[in-house]
């Protein structure tokens, strides 16, 4: 039952992240989130800033963003703090878009990308200084 629900969620999110961009979608995202960052959830720019504040990320700190979709907010946190971000999620279209976004933002030198679920993280113990996720189970 749990595995089936997870499959349903993966299918739904893969479809969601396969939607292209358009000026209309960008306008909606800007109205809801406060910026055009490839987001489709409920974490606003102000709330991403709040994460920066509570995590107190130093330049070079290692940040893991789980279920980051197209890289929001992990890439934003990397851009603002100069930390190194590892962006993870399971829908391939989301991670591919996140990577392309990192290239555009010139963050590719301090960002990495992995297809991974939050419950099965392919990293050694004590790898990260901080972990974020936004509305991910």
């Amino acid at each position: 039952m749990k595995a089936r629900r997870q499959e349903d969620i993966l299918k739904r999110f893969t479809e969601r992240y396969s939607t292209g961009v358009s000026p209309a979608l960008n306008a909606v995202e800007r109205r809801a989130i406060g910026a055009v960052v490839g987001a489709n959830g409920y974490t606003t720019v102000a709330q991403a800033e709040r994460l920066l504040s509570v995590l107190d990320l130093d330049p070079g700190a290692r940040l893991l963003d789980i279920g980051a979709g197209r890289g929001w907010p992990g890439l934003y946190l990397s851009q603002r703090s100069e930390c190194r971000a590892v962006i993870t999620d399971i829908p391939c279209p989301a991670i591919a878009t996140a990577r392309a976004r990192a290239e555009r933002l010139k963050l590719i030198g301090r960002s990495d990308f992995a297809l991974a679920t939050g419950s099965c993280l392919p990293f050694r113990d004590a790898t990260f200084d901080a972990v974020v996720h936004t509305d991910t189970l």
Binding site: L25, Y42, F123, T136
Partner: protein, 126 residues
């Protein structure tokens, strides 16, 4: 997942996350309505996130309720899509548009009725 996060964090490292969840202690009928109305990844366990964090080995756990902001953002998505209806139907399709508006149309009243909440959780790895 929190145990996996705890393992991946260095001692003293921090976790911070936003979480949408079904309001604890609802009668079964309202609990089911909250699950139907919430996003796909809505948390619905009987155990609170604070307890889950403590059990996973975190300390200095802090929860900040942000349900009012959640409602505001959910409305902004709904109203934003409505304001771009013609363009979105043309670029994303009628089914795409109607599915998202129906999802938001169910979720907004559920937030207003106190069935769904969203909080920021911050904790430190021991």
């Amino acid at each position: 997942m929190l145990r996996a996060c705890r393992r991946a964090l260095r001692p003293g490292g921090r976790i911070a996350y936003y979480n949408i969840f079904v309001t604890p202690g609802l009668p079964e009928r309202l609990h089911r309505r909250a699950l139907r109305a919430g996003p796909p990844a809505v948390a619905s366990r009987g155990i609170s996130q604070v307890d889950l964090l403590l059990r996973a080995g975190f300390k200095s756990v802090k929860e900040t309720d942000l349900t009012a902001e959640f409602l505001k953002t959910a409305r902004a998505w709904y109203e934003g899509r409505q304001s771009q209806e013609l363009e979105l139907r043309a670029s994303c399709g009628d089914a795409w548009f109607e599915e998202r508006q129906a999802d938001s149309g169910a979720m907004i009243p559920a937030i207003q009725d106190g069935l769904l909440r969203r909080s920021l959780f911050v904790a430190e790895s021991e």
